[in-house]
Amino acid sequence: MTVDSTAARKPRRSSSKRSSAKQGPAEPQLVQLLTPEGKRVEHPDYSIDLTPEELRGLYRDMVLTRRFDAEATTLQRQGELGLWASLLGQEAAQIGSGRALRDDDYVFPTYREHGVAWCRDVDPTNLLGMFRGVNNGGWDPNTNNFHLYTIVIGSQALHATGYAMGVAKDGADSAVIAYFGDGASSQGDVAEAFTFSAVYNAPVVFFCQNNQWAISEPTEKQTRVPLYQRAQGYGFPGVRVDGNDVLACLAVTRAALDRARTGQGPMLIEAFTYRMGAHTTSDDPTRYRRDEEREMWEAKDPILRLRTYLTDEGMADEAFFAGLEEESDALAKRVRDVVRAMPDPDHMAMFEHTYADGHALVDEERAAYAEYQASFVTAEEGN
């Protein structure tokens, strides 16, 4: 046994005091094209040149998404939904990345990608079924190339990778994008997705919205270095983008998708943003975070900065904003009306869709339940 017991030892630090062990620069560079103050800036690697119409389009997307999201929160409070997971604050990350996609690209979301769904033309009311409790998703992913919301954290990263492997096999030049959160980065499935995508050079973009929180846990509970750096050790690039800057998110995602399309393999994007609201309507963030943090991030609001830019540059007038206000109200009203009219599923729906090709046990249970149900009717009729 070789024991070097003579050497002086530094005192043992307890595992809770580890901040100084952090490596790399404390605050890595963000890719930013529009400052929180609404000023356009340039970045050496990522550029973008959008028409005023396109810029207004992005603004409209964010405003309508935020309005839809707020309406869903209200509907939850009114008891129309069982739960809602708000994207408040993450509009730029979602609209920017969502608008970088082509129709033939494929999206694997978590449960919070309402803005991406919007970009995919998924009717917002479709998203509400699972939160109301009338289904567990239920839309057809192939209609808009937008997969079902996935609740088990990280699982979809592998589905996206497998799908992308299929795209490559088909010789298509589509790309795939997998969304997940800062918390999800700790799941083994996400790491395995990095491994598989790198080994097979799959055309998939990993889009991590680092909104600083996984329910009550700050990002320091998941990693001690910036998340975008995770990619490097798997053999593909990672980049951190200002997740509240819709232009930067669009530019970086577009570049990553282009890499994927042209056979250069996966890439990780860390969109540095903030969850402005509670984790879900069931959550109470006052238990674990301070208001000041939120206030700091309010100054970086993704919508406000684009509005400033549009106004300052004379690319949008009051009529545009007023029209959008009206459109928002109409959207909210439609959502409200559709949700309130959403019927509960029929009892017997429990026995549908467990299998595509049928299953004897399901048939047996369905028949027994129908008989049981009928016994009430008969009993009632009998009275």
């Binding site: 069982g82 083994g188 959550d283 429990m350």
Partner: protein
């Protein structure tokens, strides 16, 4: 503490607090168990009082949580792990089945793994997918694990004390829809053994067996049946591995009829084992086949359907009637 009326949730919290106080080796680990106190607040206040070294917010990775808990147990700690919801235990399933359950045997008894895994389970709370499941059979089938589920505050407190004291891994299933049900808790009482069943209501015509969330449904059904002149005995099994077949056998030898109720799907649910074994033990006493009431062979449905999916008073009484009709 004398006798006190307490919710099942608060009783678990009190039991964890007692354990943390009594044994410096006890640790609480899981996602959001710290400041938030868990999504249900079961660990409320514990990190504040015992610090981040004893009540540990973990990265979001269930295999990592259970795998590191095994390592901590090997170092002499007694980790109590929280899985946030039933449907999220599966990433940890490999560590539980291939490591936690087998290491004692692998070492020919030299290694002990006193790890408790708390799983809030079952439906009835209007939640989204993966938040309402009853996976207990998937653990009870696995040798090396023990599985229990309390149905009231007193059991919740004492069974947690016993689970933490056990040198074997224990999966502690918490009936989340009963978290806020209150009942008497006497923290001075000396409890019976962890893996025994309890006759909660005596009766002579038929035995209803259940555990966790379904005990209340069975008691309600027994009360309703009593109004129709039927005398139903209710057995709270409390433990799904091992199952206390002796208590059940005694009951069935008396009543001649057994209905087992659980939320988990009937097919290969714990009720299947109970039916098979009780039929073997009581072949000449049974006047009807053991009937089972449980979930259907389908993923747990969206919440607007869960009242149809979950066994309720009517479905239990229907089975009681069918059993009595033999």
């Amino acid at each position: 503490m004398a006798t006190e009326k307490m919710s099942l949730l608060k009783a678990i919290n009190a039991s964890l607090r007692t354990a943390l106080e009594n044994d410096p080796k006890v640790l609480i680990m899981g996602e959001d168990v710290g400041k938030l106190g868990g999504v249900f607040r079961v660990t409320d206040g514990l990190q504040k009082d015992f610090g981040e070294e004893r009540v540990i917010d973990t990265p979001l990775a269930e295999s990592g949580i259970v795998g590191t808990a095994i390592g901590l147990a090997l170092r002499g700690y007694r980790p109590v792990v929280e899985i946030q919801f039933d449907g999220f235990v599966f990433p940890a399933y490999d560590q539980i089945v291939t490591q936690l359950a087998k290491m004692h045997a692998r070492s020919l008894g030299k290694v002990k793994l006193p790890v408790v895994i708390r799983i809030p389970y079952g439906g009835g709370i209007g939640a989204v997918e993966h938040h309402s499941e009853s996976p207990e059979a998937l653990f009870a089938h696995v040798a090396g694990l023990k599985c229990v589920s309390p149905s009231n505050a007193s059991d919740a407190y004492w069974m947690m004390q016993q689970a933490i004291a056990s040198d074997d891994p224990v999966i502690y299933f918490e009936p989340k829809r009963r978290y806020h049900d209150k009942s008497e808790l006497d923290t001075a009482a000396i409890p019976g053994p962890l893996h025994t069943a309890r006759v909660t209501r005596p009766g002579t015509d038929l035995t209803l067996a259940a555990y966790g969330p379904m005990v209340k449904v069975c008691l309600d059904a027994a009360a309703a049946a009593a109004e129709e002149g039927k005398s139903i005995e209710v057995v709270d099994l409390r433990s799904m591995s091992p199952i206390d077949f002796d208590t059940l056998q005694t009951s069935v030898e008396k009543t001649g009829r057994l209905v087992v109720v659980h939320e988990a799907p009937v097919f290969l649910g714990t009720g299947s084992e109970i039916a098979a074994r009780i039929t073997e033990r009581c072949f000449y006493h049974l006047e009807a086949p053991v009937l089972r009431v449980g979930g259907f062979h389908a993923p747990y449905p969206p919440s607007r359907l869960e009242d149809e999916y979950l066994p309720d008073l009517d479905r239990v009484l229907d089975a009681v009637d069918r059993a009595l009709a033999y």
